[in-house]
Structures are given as C-alpha cells and as structure tokens.
C-alpha cells in the first residue's frame, strides 16, 4: 500500500535555506545542501526547494545549488522558482532535479504546463499554487502569485482543475492564510481540492505540531504534506526530527515509510 509522504520544503536565497512567515521577513537558517543532507539522513521522503528570489530578480534558477543538493540526496527532489520555459526545465532536470514546480509563471502562461508535460512527462510537472480565502470566489479561495502579493481573480479550484487538464502530474496547494501560523493545514481547502482533481495532492502551509500531519492525513485524502518550520525554524522553541514525526504518525495509524536506523 502506498504510504503518505513527508516533504521538507526549503526557501533558498543565495544557496542558503531561509524561513519566512506569510511570505515575509526571511531569516537565515543553513546552507541548502547541508540541510538537504541532514533531512535525507533523517529519512525525509522528498525535498522541495524554491529559489524564492529568482522570479523577482528575473534570472534563471540557481543551478549550482540544485547540483549540490542533487549530489547528496537520493530521494525525489523538486525545484521551483524562476522557471520560465521548457529550456529552463531541461537545465534544472539535467542538474539532478526530478520534478519542476511552476507557480506564478503557470498563471501568466498556462501553456508552460502542457509544454513541460509533453516534453518530460506529467510526472515531472508539479503545479504549485498560493491561495487565499476570498468569500466572493465560487470556491471561497482565490489564486495569488508573485510570492502571494498579487491577486489574479482566478478561483483556486477552477485553476487546479485546469492545471490537471493541462497535464500537471501533481498539485501542491499552499494556504496563504495558514502559512507560517503553525495552526494546522486548511483541511477544508484540501477536501475541496481532492473532490476536484484526481492527481496526487500536496498540502502546504500551517504545520506546527505532529497532530497537524495526522489531521491532514486522516481527515482528507491528501497524499503528501509539506513541512518546514517544525523541522528547522529557529523561531520555534521545539523543532521535530523526521524520525519523531514518522514514529508519531505510525503510532497513530498513519501509513508512512518507517524511519529505520541507518
């Protein structure tokens, strides 16, 4: 039986992992490849890395850091931020990433999803989307881009359906309302999403304690969850190891890949 996945997410600036709250006030945490190696050794299931300044600085993603991380991590590795076209995707995959995450660029130019899926397969294309509770939208959620700064007028659920049709192989839904609050994932949002698309879903934004992972995995069909603050935020009094989280989930009946001793 397929297990639920824990995905460590890194916001990277100049090759270093940083931590923000609701997309602001980034503080420095550690060198990206060092952090990736630590998470790999703790048996994280997957790693996502966002080059969060690439888009704003209108430059190609930081390929040297992608290469460094890929050389020491033997679990799936997704890269996003600043991917402009199929040629950027190819360079990023060649540097050792398995999957490409596209977010703002997909809203501006949705055909990048279908072009990427055609060239490299749907399994390579993760559609990431930042959504904010907006009562005037049909689903109650609106898509934001550019680091959650710009409203798009797109309904979040309509957008992820379109993303699936265009060929996204996986969809990561990040709640702007919950991001960095440590109050838990937006379960209502994930339930709406799971009814609307059939590709695997990743929940993002809000995890602060192990119970939040249990909640999203037992109360929704979500297959994967992004964790960051609880793993390494210096702002928190308590950080959790991947092993602690997996042991907790197994004790609570959630099927995850056990963190065995290496």
């Amino acid at each position: 039986m397929l297990t639920k996945r824990l995905i460590a997410c890194f916001d990277v600036i100049n090759g270093r992992v940083t931590k923000a709250v609701q997309f602001q006030d980034n503080i420095d945490v550690a060198e990206a490849s060092e952090m990736a190696r630590k998470m790999y050794e703790e048996q994280i299931d997957e790693i996502i890395f966002f080059d969060i300044m690439a888009s704003a600085e209108k430059r190609m993603i930081d390929i040297e850091t992608v290469k460094k991380v890929a050389a020491c991590v033997f679990v799936p590795f997704t890269v996003g931020g600043g991917i402009r076209d199929v040629s950027d995707m190819y360079e990023t995959l060649k540097a050792g990433a398995e999957k490409i995450s596209i977010d703002s660029m997909a809203v501006r130019n949705p055909s990048i999803i279908s072009e990427g899926a055609k060239e490299f397969g749907s399994q390579c294309i993760v559609l990431s989307t930042q959504v904010l509770k907006t009562p005037s939208m049909p689903s109650g959620y609106e898509v934001y881009i550019d680091g959650a700064r710009t409203a798009t007028g797109l309904d979040a659920i309509e957008w992820i359906k379109r993303g699936e049709q265009l060929g996204a192989g996986e969809i990561c839904v990040n709640s702007i309302d919950c991001d960095g609050t440590l109050g838990g994932y937006d379960l209502n949002l994930m339930r709406l999403a799971e009814k609307s698309v059939s590709v695997p879903l990743i929940a993002s934004g809000g995890a602060g304690v192990p119970e939040h992972l249990k909640d999203v995995f037992t109360q929704t069909q979500t297959q994967a969850a992004i964790i960051s603050s609880m793993l390494y935020s210096p702002r928190l009094e308590k950080n959790y190891s991947v092993r602690e989280l997996k042991n907790y989930l197994l004790e609570n009946g959630v099927n995850v890949r056990p963190a065995t001793e290496i």
């Binding site: 039986m1 397929l2 297990t3 639920k4 996945r5 790999y40 048996q43 299931d45 890929a70 050389a71 033997f74 679990v75 799936p76 590795f77 190819y90 995959l93 060649k94 540097a95 050792g96 398995e98 060239e119 490299f120 397969g121 749907s122 399994q123 390579c124 192989g169 996986e170 059939s198 590709v199 695997p200 069909q221 297959q223 994967a224 890949r257 056990p258 290496i262």
Partner: protein
C-alpha cells in the same frame, strides 16, 4: 564499464549520482560503441513508453542494445519506463516496445486509486536472483504497470489497488518499476547489487 543510456527525457544524471555514491564509476552513453563495450547497461526511465522508444530509435542504438543484451548477454537494468519497454507492447501511446520479455503494460485502474501512483510503496522480492534484495519501501512514479506473461520473470511485487509487478528478472535482464536512484538506502542497495554482478 557501466553505461547509463543518456537520452533527453531520461534522468541519467540522477542515476549516475546514485552510482557514484555507492562507489561505481559510470559513463553516460549516447552511441553504439559505448553500449557494445559496456559490462553493464542501465536504461533509466521517466516519461512515456512511446517517447522512450522514439528516443532510442532516433539515437540509432536499438540494434546495438539488442546485440549486447540478447546475444552478448551484457547485464541490463531497466528502471521505471526502462523496465516497461522490455515487454512487447504498452497501452501508453499504444507503443510497440522491445519485446525481450513476453507480456504487455497496462494502465492502473483510476476508479480504484489516484493515478499516477506517486510515492513510497512496499516491495516483496522472490529470493531467486543473484541480487539479494530485502523487502522494503521504494519510490514509484507510474500510471502503468507490467503484466509479464511468464510468472517466472517476476522478481518483486507491490500493491496499488491490487498486486502488481514491481521488478522483473530473466537471466542477464533486470527491471525495476521503482526508481532505485531515488529510493534512499533501499534503492542504492539494489543498484549496488546490480553494479556488483559479473558475467
């Protein structure tokens, strides 16, 4: 020499990184000479069966591959789509494949489970190959799965809305539906087993 076939939609660099980690030097192979001189050939796979077959055709290496694997009995490992194309036909793109093993490749039933299968699943192995593989969790990304005609070709099985073939082996030919290069220590151990085989 261990040759990893490098085609545009494959993830040869990831497989090379993984082999380096466990102490094996490899070359990224793009031509017939490299295939003919190899002791081991690895065909990584991401993307679709039809696209992978087209890439191999365009590279002009299908004949060299057949010569090496079927006649010279060079050790061969196909990963993911690289395993699926070992069979005669795939429902994906309705592609004609290599046909080195009898059987075909079918799509998972989307009414039972989310398709693609994406994540870590448990594999149980039959203890009948020179590679000693223990039951463990491996990383899968697949919408299609192989249905071997000959049950003796099945090396490992897993379960996704029903039991499916997760690994195959016949003589010098090995295939894993899971990504050995992305399955942490469990995958590296299978890859080390293959790279350490000698003919």
């Amino acid at each position: 020499m261990i040759a990893i076939i490098d085609y545009k939609a494959g993830n040869a660099p990831s497989v090379q990184h993984a082999a380096r980690r466990i102490g094996f030097d490899t070359v990224l192979a793009r031509d017939c000479g490299q295939i003919e001189n190899a002791s081991h050939i690895i065909l990584p796979g991401v993307g679709s069966a039809g696209a992978t077959m087209n890439s191999l055709r365009e590279m002009g290496i299908l004949g060299a591959l057949e010569g090496a694997v079927l006649r010279e009995r060079t050790l061969f490992l196909g990963i993911c789509v690289g395993m699926q194309i070992l069979f005669e036909r795939s429902e994906e793109d309705n592609a004609d494949c290599l046909g080195w093993l009898e059987g075909y490749v079918a799509r998972f039933d989307a009414s039972k489970n989310r398709v693609p299968q994406m994540g870590w699943n448990k594999v149980d192995f039959a203890n009948k190959t020179p590679i000693e593989a223990a039951s463990d969790f491996f990383y899968f990304v697949n919408s299609y799965y192989a249905r071997p005609h000959d049950r003796d070709d099945i090396w490992g099985v897993s379960d996704y809305g029903g039991v499916f073939t997760a690994a195959v082996r016949r003589g010098n030919i090995y295939g894993t539906q899971f990504h050995v290069e992305k399955s942490a220590s469990a995958g590296l151990s299978v890859l080390a087993g293959f790279c350490g085989l000698s003919n």
